[in-house]
């Protein structure tokens, strides 16, 4: 492999990795505060992409407005999911909430198949973002540069909310002890709803970015990215926003570089990622940047 090819792979990895990171920060936020593996995250992600499709292609709403509508729509869905499927299980064992999450995921996927059919849809890709250009020998599209920037801005904003605002304080407090937080006069349900709202909005943004990069919107599109982002979040250390970004980037780099260096083994691409995941967990059982969390049961 020559240097220019390596640079191309490097750019590709950055593009993919930051995309994983973007999905993972929403995942890790909900997980960090509620210890709930929100399997429906990938499905909210999918809904975000669908809303953009409907807004811009079906109803011809201008792009920027469509984006806002999609994020708001997905946020509303996230809140609804929390209210119906998670809130009644707040004091239940974690596995109950997990199964409920799997149920929600099944529901959203299949309701989408009923409502939107399984035919993949396209999204409008603004030329500005998609027209490839060459930087030396490396070719890339503007979107690939945008995604890391958006991810970092969102991650920074999220950190600000969690560490610099009252609501953030309440969230962190809930992540340690729900009952005590309630006694302190914090409205637990409202705070958790806010957590879900932010998480869903992040999922929707990620879904829209994903749909722009890989323009194929279908009901099961959230499954694989959700799965990968979940792994990225664990990889980086669940609950840690910076860890999620790092985990996403690492996953992107492992996937791309394993193909780049071992083209004959490209069929094993995902296996590389999983082997590394297991090894990292063995060396550092709480992920790259994770803190030791006491299990809440």
């Amino acid at each position: 492999m020559n240097f220019s090819m390596f640079l191309q792979h490097f750019t590709n990895a950055l593009g993919l990795g930051s995309m994983y990171g973007l999905i993972a920060i929403g995942y890790t936020m909900v997980y960090g505060i509620l210890r709930l593996i929100n399997f429906a995250h990938g499905d909210i992600f999918m809904l975000g992409a669908y809303f953009v499709f409907f807004a811009t292609i079906q109803y011809k709403i201008p792009w920027a407005l469509g984006l806002v509508i999609a994020v708001l729509g997905a946020t509303a869905c996230g809140l609804l999911v929390d209210r119906i499927a998670y809130r009644p299980l707040r004091d239940a064992p974690r596995i109950s909430a997990l199964i409920s999450a799997i149920g929600v995921s099944f529901f959203i996927e299949n309701a989408s198949i009923v409502a939107f059919t399984g035919v993949p849809r396209n999204v409008i890709q603004p030329k500005l973002l998609m027209e490839p250009f060459a930087l030396g020998t490396v070719r890339l599209i503007p979107l690939s540069l945008m995604v890391p920037v958006i991810s970092f801005v969102l991650a920074a904003g999220l950190l600000w909310v969690i560490y610099r605002t009252k609501q953030g304080l309440a969230m962190r407090s809930i992540s340690h002890d729900i009952e005590t937080t309630r006694l302190m006069g914090v409205s637990v349900d409202k705070t958790i709803a806010l957590t879900f709202a932010i998480g869903s909005a992040l999922a929707a943004v990620a879904g829209i970015m994903w749909a722009l990069r890989y323009p194929k919107v279908e009901p099961l599109m959230g499954m694989m990215p959700g799965f990968k982002a979940f792994i990225a979040a664990v990889f980086g250390g669940v609950g840690s926003v910076a860890g999620a970004m790092l985990g996403g980037l690492s996953l992107g780099f492992i996937e791309i570089m394993s193909v780049a260096f071992f083209p004959k083994l490209s069929g094993y691409r995902d296996a590389f990622a999983f082997v590394l995941l297991i090894v990292i967990l063995l060396v550092k059982p709480t992920g790259l940047l994770g803190e030791k969390l006491e299990d809440k049961i």
Binding site: R35, I37, I84, A85, P88, L89, A92, P93, I95, S96, I99, S100, I102, G103, V104, F106, F107, E109, N110, A111, I113, V114, F227, F230, I231, V234, V238, G267, Y268, D270, A271, F274, V275, L277, I278, L281, L282, P285, T286, G287, D295
Partner: protein, 356 residues
């Protein structure tokens, strides 16, 4: 008092034997009473119950969150199928890469292949449990999930051994009611014995409070490894039975969705309850099949019922039922409880008391 208890014990044992015998008679007669579709569903119930029990042992009883069941099932299904298939079948099937020569002549009868399937899955379970069981909680879930995916990717890519994505076909349909329920009975018996033994108590102690268990001198790590390995054995057997009823397998059958399916059965039935896994298996398997009718147009008079006849509706309703069960009965149908004749009798006498 003790005489009464003794009499009860005799009675219960008698009832158990009677129940088993009458069920055996029913199974014997089933082919005459039921059509092939219902028999297939009954077989699937038994297989799902075996899978549920094995996951329940790992998760419900030993408290290890494992998402790797599908991978161990895959190992079992492939080992069993590769042992059963004849050399002629194998030569005809490997149309892309030739089959590994050493594999061609390997052959074993059905029951041996099931045993081998369990052992192979147990071996892989043991292999991964050594490093990853040091992890706790969700991290263990992820690590096992990762391992299960690695197994699946290996099966997909190792064409000379597994025929890759083309999968295996023409596996004789050895799984019939006698086999599946026979193995289920053995599984049930072993699980009950295991949980009643000292080892069962140790497992629960490790689940409930690992530190306390360790202070009492229990080698908690070894206990968990053993429980995990036994659970994987069950997964392998279940996978093998599954392959022998579908009669064709490929790597895509064993994705995370398969694990979710089993997890659902365990949790709906009641985490930690042996009876629960069986009940959960009946509920989930029957529901999924029975709900099919909503995907055919339902006519009320001459108008079609709204949303009926739409593909996907079945899973929509199923998922709503799933969420409903979890919300309204979060501990599952059985909770941590087990079925016992005493409980059944006291239930009925209470009912009668209410009526009077």
């Amino acid at each position: 008092m003790s005489a009464e208890r003794g009499a009860k014990k005799v009675r219960n044992r008698f009832l158990t034997v009677l129940a088993i015998i009458s069920f055996a008679v029913f199974l014997q007669q089933a082919p005459n009473l039921l059509d092939g579709y219902k028999i297939r569903i009954m077989n699937m119930i038994a297989i799902n119950a075996i899978l549920g029990l094995s996951l329940n042992l790992i998760y419900g009883m030993a408290g290890m969150f494992s998402l790797g069941h599908a991978g161990f099932m895959a190992v079992g299904a492939y080992v069993s199928a590769l042992l059963i298939l004849t050399p002629a079948q194998k030569t005809a099937m490997w149309i892309l890469d030739p089959i590994a020569p050493w594999l061609l002549g390997v052959h074993a009868p059905f029951l041996i292949s099931i045993l081998a399937a369990g052992l192979a899955a147990a071996f892989f379970g043991w292999l991964i449990s050594m490093p990853v069981l040091r992890l706790g909680g969700d991290y263990l879930g992820i690590a096992t999930l990762g391992f299960s995916e690695i197994l699946r990717i290996l099966i997909t890519n190792l064409t000379p051994i597994t025929n890759g994505p083309l999968g295996l076909k023409g596996i004789p349909a050895h799984t019939n009611l006698r086999v599946s329920y026979g193995i289920l009975l053995v599984t049930l018996f072993c699980t009950v014995r295991l949980m009643k033994s000292n080892f069962g108590n140790v497992i629960k102690a490790v689940r409930d409070d690992e530190t306390a268990a360790r202070t009492m001198g229990i080698n908690t790590f070894q206990t968990r490894v053993l429980a995990f390995t036994i659970g994987c054995f069950g997964a392998g057997v279940g996978g093998a039975l599954m392959g022998n009823i579908i009669t064709t397998i490929d790597p895509r059958m064993f994705t995370i969705n398969q694990t979710y399916n089993t997890l659902m059965i365990v949790v709906i039935g009641g985490l930690g309850s042996i009876t629960g896994s069986v009940v959960g298996s009946v509920l989930v398997t029957v529901m999924l099949e029975w709900l099919r009718f909503v995907e055919n147009p339902i006519m009320i008079g001459s108008t079609q019922l709204f949303l009926s006849g739409k593909p996907g509706m079945r899973m929509v309703i199923f998922s709503l039922l799933l969420i409903g069960v979890i919300i309204f009965r979060r501990e599952g149908v059985m909770g941590m409880k087990e079925f016992s004749w005493d409980r059944l009798f006291s239930f009925f006498s209470r009912q009668r008391g209410d009526a009077a």
